[in-house]
Amino acid sequence: MNILARLDLWKEQGAISAEQHTHLESLSRREPFSLSLELNFLLYAGVLAFVAGLGWTISTWSHQLGDVLVLTILSIILTASFWYCFSRAPAWSAAETAAPTPVFDYVLYLGSLVWCVELAYLEDRFHLLSGQWDIYLLATALLFFFLAYRFDNRFVLSLALSSLAGWFGLTISHWPSHQDATYRQYALLYCLVIGIAGAVLQNLKLKPHFFATYLNVAANVLFWAILSGVFESHDDGLWFVGLLIACAASLAWGLKRRQFAFVAYAAVYGYVGVSWMFLRNVSDETFIDGYFVLTAIAMIVMLVQIARRFGRPE
């Protein structure tokens, strides 16, 4: 019995009204078919391609075009984007607000990306802050946080979080070659700052729906930082204890809030860290294989129990 037959049955049984039946049947038959996702993705890809081309063009032809022309073009796009956003935006609300127009989010995103291009160009050509990029990053992060909260935009919030990460000397692309103590400290500080900020803002009911973004970013950076500490520390078990605490906290949070991404973080990051600690000085292949067989089965059993008890399908 497919869903259409089931809807008919539910209508006959009186479980749903005729109006509900009509509506749900049309949804099931894809009548009408919503192109919302596809159009949003086209807009996103369009903005991204445009800004990539803009940056590429400027980086290649800046000398031929001249500073005045480049800055004029960038400023016009920037001003027009932000003018559009500020003129169209509804009055600010601390709660979740829908974008006033379908393209609003993408215009804001365009403006934010062009801001970065313009700032980079200004510093590169005129050395306004003598190469102190951390100040630019901090200013950019603050601006993006303001824009994200003003216009309720997750795109820009993510940009703000990555700019702030940059300010902390943290870029994901540099991780493999910079796993040193300094980076770890900055990473932990970054997690602490955004974790606390996210929690405070949520408690203040200021765009509480942003909290999940803060928490996911903080959790992943935290686990990477702790894991790098576990991998590199040879004597003290401080990082390992930290990993266990982080895993326990992530697991507890995930189960309590039914946010299973955190259960997955705890399981995978925790398993990698614990396995490293157990096996780092072991060279016996039989022991290593036996360890993985037993521990992986133990993890499966534990996760199945969790799935049975808590893991609702989505």
């Binding site: 019995m1 869903i3 539910w10 479980a15 749903i16 509506h23 949804l27 009548e31 919503s34 192109l35 996702l37 596809e38 159009l39 993705f41 086209l42 890809a45 369009g46 903005v47 991204l48 391609a49 445009f50 800004v51 081309g53 803009l54 940056g55 590429w56 063009t57 980086s59 800046s62 031929q64 379908p102 590169d124 630019y136 990053l137 200013a139 950019t140 795109f155 993510s158 940009l159 990555s162 700019s163 990460a165 940059g166 300010w167 870029t171 692309s173 540099h174 729906h209 991404a261 997955a264 039989t286 360890y291 993985f292 067989v293 992986a296 499966i300 996760l303 199945v304 799935a307 399908p313």
Partner: protein, 408 residues
């Protein structure tokens, strides 16, 4: 033949839809509780995160168990013996996958999926070691056994367990088959396309029998993969998209004569593929629109963009730094035009399509997507450095994230 009965899968689907509709406010909580009783299934499923983690740990357990077996009992044995045991492990893995589904009724649970995937991997590795180890020059015709068996096994897993990712795996195995039939690159491309087209011809009529039921999505996704596969086979410049370097384009421009771009391919074949990469996207889009199929529409849009991106290299034309800007303007323009055109229809609907968001799922997907895409954007729009330009100074900086990823 399928391990899950259609009624079980329909029940699971109905349950999922009930949750979505209640979340969207189309059904009341009381109605949900009442109707939920109607959708009780014997299948056990879980959410995507636990499914992924269970898949991961099952793979580790199986791989380690096999490694342990070889370490303990067969540490000094011939590769052919290892091959035989891998074939046995393939059978054991497959039997275990069947067992956990039939006995514990797991459905999209990660465990049975990992076991099924392992069985295909062991099967291919076992065949390779058993038949070809120690034989330096085995005939090419015999070597095709491995991809052929891999393709058939993947197709079986796809059909039996309804695991969508087994289908592209079968396509990848199938794509390596023509290399054993002919040394001609052009002929290989044609053979692969014929195989995929045959898949389309087989799937289309089956799919039409499953309109609005639970198998429609599976066939729709497979059809979308086949269309994408055919397009990728014919687009001979697709590698440029995945390895964008300005030096490649500069090199192309130096070659001058268009015939130089066809290196490795006969001229008529090369230009036929150029015609095809322009013909396929509208065809795929038309099919997607006609079927109201999200996956096929997405493939149509992706192939259209790929055609625009690879057209200049195809023709040997100089690529310009502002080409992405024009592409961006075109994409945005198309999106706005379609949105406006649809919005102007009665109730915002034209020909059964609307630009309005109808489901809370779309909103949820957009929320997650915007957060993730916002984080990766700084990496993705970083312009490539251009060593050919002596005036180059402003480059390598990530624009998004305040240029956090670059040195400017």
């Amino acid at each position: 033949m399928r391990i899950y009965t259609q009624s079980s899968e329909e029940t699971m689907r109905a349950r999922k839809l009930l949750m979505h509709w209640t979340g969207d406010g189309y059904l009341s909580k009381e109605q949900y509780q009442s109707l939920e009783q109607d959708t009780v299934s014997d299948l056990r499923t879980t959410n995507i995160f636990l499914r992924l983690v269970l898949f991961f740990f099952t793979m580790i357990a199986v791989a380690a168990a096999v490694g342990l077996f070889f370490t303990m009992f067969l540490s000094r044995t011939s590769e052919q013996t290892i091959g035989i045991f891998l074939l046995i492990f393939a059978a054991v893995s497959y039997t275990a996958a069947e067992f956990v589904v039939t006995q514990t009724r797991l459905y999209r649970y990660g465990i049975e999926e990992a076991l099924a995937v392992c069985s295909v991997a062991f099967l291919c590795a076992g065949l390779d070691l058993f038949f070809f180890s120690g034989i330096p020059y085995s005939p090419r015709e015999i070597q095709l056994v491995i991809p052929a068996v891999g393709a058939i096994a993947s197709l079986w897993i796809w059909y039996r367990f309804n695991l969508w990712y087994a289908f592209p795996a079968a396509m990848i195995f199938a794509a390596s088959l023509p290399a054993y039939w002919t040394p001609s690159h052009s002929a290989q491309h044609v053979f692969i396309a014929v195989l995929y087209a045959a898949g389309l011809i087989c799937i289309a009529p089956i799919r039409s029998r499953h309109r609005f039921d639970t198998l429609e999505d599976a066939y729709s996704l497979s059809e979308a993969f086949l269309w994408l596969g055919i397009y990728l086979v014919f687009n001979l410049k697709i590698y440029l998209v995945f390895n964008l370097k300005i030096s490649d384009f500069s090199l192309l421009s130096y070659w001058g004569s268009p015939t130089r771009f066809t290196s490795g391919f006969a001229g008529p074949f090369y230009w036929t593929t150029w015609v095809l990469i322009w013909c396929l996207p509208p065809l795929i889009l038309a099919r997607g629109v006609r079927q109201k199929d999200r996956f096929i529409l997405a493939v149509g849009a992706i192939t259209a963009v790929l055609t625009l991106v690879t057209n200049k290299p195809y023709l040997g034309w100089q690529r310009h730094t502002w080409d992405p800007m024009l592409l961006g303007i075109a994409l945005t323009g198309v999106a706005l035009l379609i949105r406006r055109w649809l919005a102007l229809g009665p109730d915002g609907v034209r020909h059964g399509f609307t630009a309005a968001r109808l489901s809370g799922n779309d909103k949820h997907a957009m929320s997650i997507g915007s957060s993730v895409l916002g984080l990766i954007t700084p990496q993705s729009i970083t312009p490539p450095p251009q060593p050919t330009n002596p005036d180059f100074r402003f480059g390598g900086g990530g624009s998004g994230g305040g240029g956090a990823s670059g040195d400017f």
